[in-house]
Amino acid sequence: MTKVPVTILTGFLGAGKTTLLNRILTEQHGQRIAVIENEFGEIGIDHELVVQTDEEIFEMNNGCICCTVRGDLIRILGRLMKRKDKFDRVLVETTGLADPGPVVQTFFMDDDMKEQFFVDAIVTVVDAKHILLHLDDSDEALEQVAFADVLLLNKCDLVDTAALDTLERRLRGINALAKIYRTTNSDIALDKVLHVGGFNLDHAMELDPQFLEVEETPEPDHHDHECTEECDHEHGHHHHHHHDESVGSVGIEAEGDVDGRKLNAWLSELVRTQGQDIFRTKGVFAIAGNPDRIIFQGVHMLIDGANGGPWGDRKRVNKLVFIGRHLDRAALNAGFRGCLV
């Protein structure tokens, strides 16, 4: 059965999600797209399949965040897939305050959804003018950035280049893997948002080494934020916005071979104990005695691996990126290096 790709569109209210959605629906791409939008959306397209829904979370296993799925998606997509006149793609728009985790997990955790769909990408639209305020105040905004495969830095016409550069560094500090595009009016070539392959294991091998150069989450004093007496954070050389500094990326690159059993044990223990805080993981490994690359990706506790074909003449270099909250860079590095032979 050919699986249907799913694009998850997130972003804070007013960031430009609906503009992008309208652009996707009206452009001549020849695809029949089913849109699942949150109940309060205002899509005025009537020739496409637009279904409005409440975002309903199914909690399981005592509310474990890694096991929550979207019940409304299971129900609606399950029903739509029974139609003969099926669709080429699904676009799920979330509310501005949604955590993307349950949406993604729906397509990994539910057997029926897993059988019929695959997540192509999480696209997060960011309002370049106001996102800093949201990043300081909102866990959801941070998570939407952290989960993204594609970040659309939108409304760039309202912000000068220097501020955009600063913002981009800040976003890169949170999410070292996402592709970032600067846009105005969400104007972007659709193949940049519709054919991303963000969860495609083949693409996990394409970790861009420059992403791994991000050593530290930028300090919050990069913010476009003028402190006042009302600010509740500590004033001084180091600002501590507790939301911001807790979410970031850790990249690890190490030449040589790893012990497959040690790596498996370390990763399993890591996602078991810290999976709730690890939003996304991607990696390429050189396993001792194995001529092929082993590629890996994960969302929270859900991990997936595959054979990525032979290393050939390439240098056997392991690459691993974590995006999450409260990541301990030193411990992750030490843990991984402990798997090297």
Binding site: Q52, D54, F58, E59, M60, G71, R75, R79, K84
Partner: protein, 337 residues
């Protein structure tokens, strides 16, 4: 035992449901899209009823009269009177913006239940809304009338079930657990209310003891539930094995080992016991229509390979006839002898 193909009819699409009229003279066929068909006993199309826009939900016959209710994603219910004669224009009730996916007549035929989002709506025979139960935290996935108390209905939304009594605004009982429930089914004697869950499990509530049971260990989500008419056996489907639990005795299935029926190579997704017998029909995604006799064997007594996955099964109310719908829109009527 033998299965003999009698008639094949074609609906436009994936068959969502089948419903026999009370006297077995008509069979309503609900495809996911396109006209809802009413077949006669010989499989001929007696009526083609208009669809419900983007998709159909259900078509269910009244328990004592030749009345049919249909619903769908247009948020409408249509009530057809006397479908044994050429159908007259139905009474159409618009309930609002949203999908109506299920319908259920109360056992006395006085009320019709449906769900629109988080609301469980009860209509009278004329189509007037008489009760609205809206204290659900998420969409109502399923509901089932208490077979012994025609004024009581159970709804499932979130984890567990909520019990409502007509005439009372607040639920009179609630069975909560931390997950999500998708299906509801009563034993005919009203003792057991069973839910099929998002996790691979079922919950049973024993009304005689006010006691909940949680049965886990399934390989897949439980997608089909069926009690035999004696209320002694509960069949559950979802994976390749059909599991039959003994619901007799003081503690029911608690601490017992179920029978596991083999024969499917795909998931069993549709189950129905024949009234007054031990014949259990099972339809699978493997395209197999199987009849088991679980009391005497865990192997199929008879089976038939269909061209596409089976989506629903329904026994004729009195004769040994079985109707099955498939993913490709076929409707098979078979005799079981």
């Amino acid at each position: 035992m033998e299965i003999q193909k009698l008639i094949e009819a074609a609906a436009s699409e994936h068959v969502l449901g089948l419903s026999w009229s009370h006297d077995g003279a008509r069979l309503a066929v609900t495809p996911s899209e396109g006209p809802i068909l009413v077949l006669d006993r010989d499989g001929k199309i007696a009526a083609e009823l208009p669809d419900h826009g983007l998709g159909n939900g259900a078509a269910v016959f009244h328990p004592f009269e030749p009345k049919l209710a249909t619903c769908g994603t247009d948020g409408r219910i249509r009530l057809y009177e006397n479908l044994c004669a050429p159908p007259r224009p139905p009474r159409e009730i618009t309930l609002g913006k949203g999908w109506l996916e299920r319908l259920a007549w109360s056992l006395d035929g006085a009320h019709l239940a449906t769900a629109l989002g988080r609301r469980l709506l009860i209509l009278d025979e004329a189509g007037e809304i008489t009760h609205e139960f809206d204290a659900h935290k998420s969409s109502v996935c399923d509901f089932a009338w208490n077979p012994r108390q025609p004024e009581e209905i159970a709804s499932v939304a979130d984890g567990g079930a909520t019990m409502w009594r007509l005439g009372e605004e607040a639920p009179f009982a609630r069975f909560d657990w931390g997950g999500a429930s998708l299906l509801a089914c009563w034993s005919p004697d009203g003792r057991w209310l069973v839910t099929g869950d998002q996790t691979p499990s079922v919950h049973l509530y024993d009304f005689t003891r006010d006691y909940p049971l949680h049965i886990q260990g399934y390989e897949t989500k439980v997608k089909a539930l069926a009690f035999n008419s004696a209320s002694r056996k509960l069949a559950t489907g979802g994976g390749r094995l059909v599991t039959v639990w003994n619901c007799t005795g003081k503690t029911g299935p608690e601490g017992t080992i179920p029978k596991q029926l083999e024969g499917h190579t795909g998931d069993s997704v549709a189950l129905a016991y024949r009234r007054g017998s031990d014949w259990l029909a099972s339809g699978g995604t493997d395209g197999r229509l199987i009849v088991f006799e679980p009391e005497s064997s865990t192997r199929p007594r008879a089976s038939l390979a269909l061209d596409a996955g089976v989506t629903c099964v329904a026994w004729h109310p009195s004769e040994p006839l079985l109707a099955a719908g498939t993913e490709s829109g076929a409707v098979e009527l078979v005799a079981v002898t």
